[in-house]
């Protein structure tokens, strides 16, 4: 028992203490969070834009050019692996770029946008059509009704799946090791190969991801509760 304990302590020391290795995890986590945060913002912007492009309609009910473009975008992004998209961005499109983090942010943002688009679209469609009709019947324009009536209600619908998308995105950034960025996952992997001991670094990284996502979940739940309060139900 005592032998096992001593061995574990040594493993822990090698994984986290020796040569200030804990800093490597921290730096890795910093890269992970930076990419995830800005990619999430970019994804929201692109996704919302795409959602409205998809929802645009002409008087005769046919699809607009904008809707067709949005559909093609979403099909391509959802139809290819995100790790491939990242590699295409890094090795082909931005082959001359030296800033890997920005390329990763772009790549994940573009990817996330396709999923956010469908979430936002579903959230808007879930608002009863009568709300739009009532707004229009009072003389408000389609845009005015959207801004004052539909979107505030859609935000509430959208929040849970958007939170889900953020969590997926945060974990998905673990693939940036493919383009030689040192995020949390890659930092852990590097330490594992240096110490010839995988257990502590990998479990350690897993625990860090878990804690970050748990905090994110709590924050989202709080925000959701605050929005529901205005329902006064």
């Amino acid at each position: 028992m005592q032998a096992w304990f001593e061995k574990s302590a040594k493993m822990f020391e090698a994984a986290f203490i020796t040569g200030d290795r804990w800093k490597l995890y921290l730096n890795g986590l910093g890269v992970t969070l930076e990419i995830a945060f800005f990619a999430a913002i970019l994804g929201m912007i692109i996704g919302t834009l795409l959602a409205f492009m998809k929802l645009s309609s002409r008087r005769n009910g046919k699809k607009t050019i904008l809707a067709v473009i949005a559909n093609i975008y979403i099909d391509i992004i959802r139809g290819t692996p995100s790790v491939l998209q990242l590699m295409i961005m890094w090795f082909i499109i931005f082959a001359n770029s030296k800033n890997g983090v920005i390329v990763a942010i772009l790549s994940f943002g573009i990817n996330s946008g396709a999923y956010v688009a469908e979430i936002v679209r579903a959230g808007i469609l879930a608002v009863d059509n009568g709300q739009m009709e009532a707004g229009r019947s009072l003389g408000l324009s389609k845009a005015q009704t959207m801004i004052h009536i539909i979107i505030p209600q859609a935000v509430k619908n959208v929040l849970p799946p958007i939170g889900n998308e953020f969590i997926v995105l945060l974990k998905e950034t673990a693939i940036v090791g493919y383009v030689s960025l040192t995020d949390l996952t890659r930092a852990a992997n590097q330490i594992a190969s240096r110490t010839y001991e995988a257990f502590m670094p990998l479990i350690g990284a897993a625990v860090i991801y878990f804690i970050v996502i748990k905090i994110l979940t709590i924050l989202l739940a709080k925000f959701e509760r605050r929005l529901r309060k205005s329902d006064n139900r």
Binding site: G130, A134, S137, L138, L140, H148, D231, R233
Partner: protein, 240 residues
């Protein structure tokens, strides 16, 4: 005031309106009745272009509103509409439900709109609900607020699309009372309903729609006491 000329409306393969002609004059209270699927709601919804007609023309105050060049938002400012399902804005308080359109369309400033809204709410006995949300109201209260919301725009005509059909029976009366009061104040009204008592009491004309056309039109007296077409006789024998 509203002239409907040879109105047709098709949904996919479903030919709902098959040539409707009608002229609504100022101050009239037109009640439209008919079996479900007869096209009466579609007819009403075409009047403010919530449904775009397949063919035919609709004129409102001398303006052809079916002309694509007409600014329909401007036209709708003068046509109130009340829906079967109330359609109050769920994210806004009652006060904001009523004042949103007049303020955003710059017809009134915020204070005027609030003052006007309170006056109207008072008229339907709901002034204490100004700060409530729609989810806190009963069906009858919601529909009375919906009527007030339309009235806040000072419309020239009010369209009612089965305003009492989604209500519990004991709440129908309170909504009909508001509508009667509105009729007495001289408002031009077009009402699609199943309330025969209201048609008889308030209507200046009653229309019977079936199979996408106006089958019969008469004063309430004649309409209910001496129905001409066999189809209307059959309908009335079932509902009265």
């Amino acid at each position: 005031m509203i002239i409907v000329k040879d109105l047709h409306k098709k949904f996919e393969n479903n030919h709902v309106l098959r040539g409707v002609n009608y002229h609504v004059h100022q101050g009239e209270k037109i009640v439209v009745i008919g079996p479900s699927g007869s096209g009466k709601s579609t007819f009403l919804r075409c009047m403010n272009l919530l449904e775009v007609p397949t063919s035919g023309e609709i004129w409102f105050d001398g303006v052809n509103i079916t002309d694509p060049k007409t600014d329909i938002d401007k036209v709708r400012e003068h046509m109130g509409m009340v829906f079967q399902n109330f359609n109050l804005f769920n994210n806004l308080t009652i006060m904001n439900n009523i004042t949103l359109a007049p303020v955003k369309l710059k017809l009134m400033n915020k204070e005027e709109a609030c003052e006007n809204a309170l006056k109207l709410l008072e008229r339907v006995g709901l002034s204490e609900k100004a700060d409530a949300y729609p989810s806190q109201l009963s069906g009858g209260q919601k529909q009375r607020v919906a009527i007030v919301r339309s009235l806040a725009m000072n419309p020239r005509v009010m369209l009612f699309d089965e305003p009492t059909s989604a209500l519990d029976p004991e709440m129908v009366g309170e909504v009909l009372d508001v509508m009667k009061g509105l009729a007495e104040s001289g408002m031009t009204m077009v009402v699609v309903t199943h309330e025969m008592g209201f048609a008889r009491e308030v209507g200046t004309k009653v229309l019977f729609m079936d199979e996408g056309v106006i089958m019969e039109e008469n004063t309430p007296q004649e309409f209910f006491n001496h129905p001409k077409s066999p189809r209307l006789q059959e309908f009335l024998s079932k509902v009265l």
